[in-house]
């Protein structure tokens, strides 16, 4: 398994091919697609989801799933903003720290519940997702913070760029949030390929019994996996809030399944133990590419779900079918419904 992160898998080749062909089609129909500002805009708007996808990848490697990440991201960023506004502080670092801390706490709650209840994590985290969002809006606040009330450091950070390029429509820059994506990718790479805990998480997704016998504690591994998800969710929430430069009590929540779909398209297995960073990133990228370019093809955004659903079904059907054939050949009868 350790060797597998070198090279590139079939799924990822297929995704690359899809992205390439689709880009050419869109570019031929509408040359505006190849403008640098379109590209930068896709990167900017997808960056917070890419960060989330890294956390989701780790949780899914552990054999679980977490769909409460949007609620955690909202909880974290809302709490951080409320504290900042009420204390009059404008430190963006403090906001990130609070948001991530809240995220870790909520993630650990998820891990404890999953370990305790022994039921499908999808159902458990669907419950906690509603619980977190409800608790936040009921006990912390349900007011909207507009741009005027937020610390100026938010919008400064949200609109900051690494470098600028001169184009016809003015200067466009690559958003700083790409650094967070890079950071999340490197951290995740380090966690799952270079630490014992990370290897334990992957092992847990393959076989809980075997992992226990080697001497890992599944509870601790789950706490790390779900806590890491919460940590990245807190970070992603702040990135989103800074980009939008407003905090709404009902944004973000409701888009969970699109992110899950992206990660699954990227070849991450729902039964755990299999999945790669590059695949997850490509899967999310495809969804955002569709999201922001269907309009170039003359289709309204209402066609978005149709395409995402079709790609998801095809990719699920192909990967599951290969798995099924392999299992049949090896006389493995683990029927999963």
């Amino acid at each position: 398994m350790l060797k597998r992160h070198n090279g590139i898998t079939n799924t990822e080749m297929a995704l690359f091919a899809i992205i390439l062909i689709y880009s050419i089609v869109v570019g031929v129909v509408n040359s505006g697609f190849f403008n640098i500002d379109t590209q930068f805009d896709i990167i900017r708007s997808s960056s917070y989801v890419m960060v989330l996808a890294m956390g989701l990848l780790v949780v899914m490697l552990s054999g679980g799933i977490d769909i409460s990440f949007m609620a955690m991201a909202l909880f974290g960023s809302y709490t951080a903003t409320k504290i900042l506004v009420s204390t009059g502080s404008s430190s963006i670092l403090l906001a990130f720290a609070i948001s991530m801390g809240v995220g870790i706490g909520l993630g650990i709650i998820n891990a404890l519940l999953v370990s305790w209840l022994r039921l499908p994590p999808f159902i458990i985290t669907l419950g906690t997702s509603n619980l977190f969002h409800g608790v936040m809006a009921t006990f912390i606040g349900a007011k909207t913070y507009g741009g005027g009330r937020l610390p100026p450091s938010y919008s400064n950070f949200g609109s900051s760029t690494l470098f600028k390029v001169h184009t016809d429509i003015g200067d466009v820059g690559l958003s700083t949030s790409i650094l967070f994506v890079l950071g999340a990718v490197l951290l995740t790479y380090f966690l799952i390929y270079r630490t014992t805990v990370g290897r334990g998480i992957v092992a847990l997704g393959n076989s809980e019994e075997a992992t226990k016998r080697i001497g890992y504690k599944p509870l601790l591994l789950r706490i790390v996996a779900y806590g890491y998800m919460g940590f990245l969710a807190g970070c992603a929430g702040m990135i989103y809030v800074c980009q939008v430069n407003a905090v709404y009590p009902d944004k973000m929540v409701g888009n969970e399944l699109m992110v899950v779909a992206g990660v699954i398209i990227g070849g991450v297995s729902i039964s755990g133990g299999k999945g790669r960073i590059l695949g997850a990133l490509l899967g999310i990228f495809i969804i955002y590419l569709l999201n922001s370019t269907l309009i170039f093809l003359g289709l309204t955004s209402s066609w978005n779900q149709l395409f995402v659903g079709a790609i998801l079904i095809i990719s699920v059907a192909v990967t599951s079918y290969q798995e099924k054939k392999k299992n049949q050949k090896h006389l493995i009868f683990n029927v999963s419904i």
Partner: protein, 341 residues
Amino acid sequence: MKCEKKTFEKNPTSLSYVAILLLVVFAIVFGRAMYSGRNLSSMAFQMPEFGFVTLGMMLAFLLGGIDLSIIANANLSGILAAHILTGQWLPFIPEGMKIPVAIIGAILVSAALGSFNGLLITRFGAPSLIATLGTMTLYAGIGMAITGGKSIVGFPEAFTRIGIASMAGVPIIFIMFIIVAFLIGFFLERSRLGRKIYLCGESPVASLFSGIHNDRIIFIVFTIIGVLAGLSGLTIISRVNSAKVGYGDAYLLQSLIVCVIGGINPLGGRGRSIGIVIAVILMQMLSSSFTIMQLSPYATKMIWGLMLVVVMGLTRESDRIRRVSRRISEKVGIAKRRKDC
């Protein structure tokens, strides 16, 4: 026959106690507001559309799977029926035939959508969670592409009358729901196929090796789930008098809660349809009490989420206590027998 006892011994008796307790509490707290004729009948009108969805979710749970696409399926078949009813599609159908054609068409389409789920799960071996996640997105996407997100209105009056008609004060759609729930319960507990569903959910590998065609059973069950979704979709458009994508998205969480409260084990093989009926009624009463208390949507959300977690926790702890007490009683029995010798 021991197995049969075990499957059904979890008679929802504890649930009925809770139900009666809650009814009394509601009577004391809300009194008139809860038990007025108007509120009771409005609850009975709202229950069936959600009830059909939940029965479908129960069937998926019994197999140890899940079906996320039920609501998208209901909306899509509702949209199809709406197109036929308003004459936008198949305009050559005579006026009098529109309603039966729309109803039959919607049921057929929903069965096909359900069996597509079954196909993905059996033929391609996709886990039901991601297979139905995909079809949920796809069905909602098809609905969006057809309607563009707008709602379709203007059905023939004879059709909307089905949704609001009542017989002796009881809504017809509610009677339909009870009949369907009874039929499903009967079929699960008395037919060979029903028994196989429980076996397949309890342990798919064991059922495979005892000569049961798992694939066939899964396919049939997901087709039935599709039909239930179609019934829900027809009920919705008839009662609300409009069809659109995204109606009743909150039902997904609520149907999971109802299944867990109703004693259906998400891991498969345990639970009865009567539990679902009681739990659906309880859920509707809770929902109604939230409306009377004028809770904010966020507070409602919080309570649903909390309920799901708490109920799962209680089920787990009560199972563990039961297991421990059984072990103790077994040990005591052995000790006694030794003494007798």
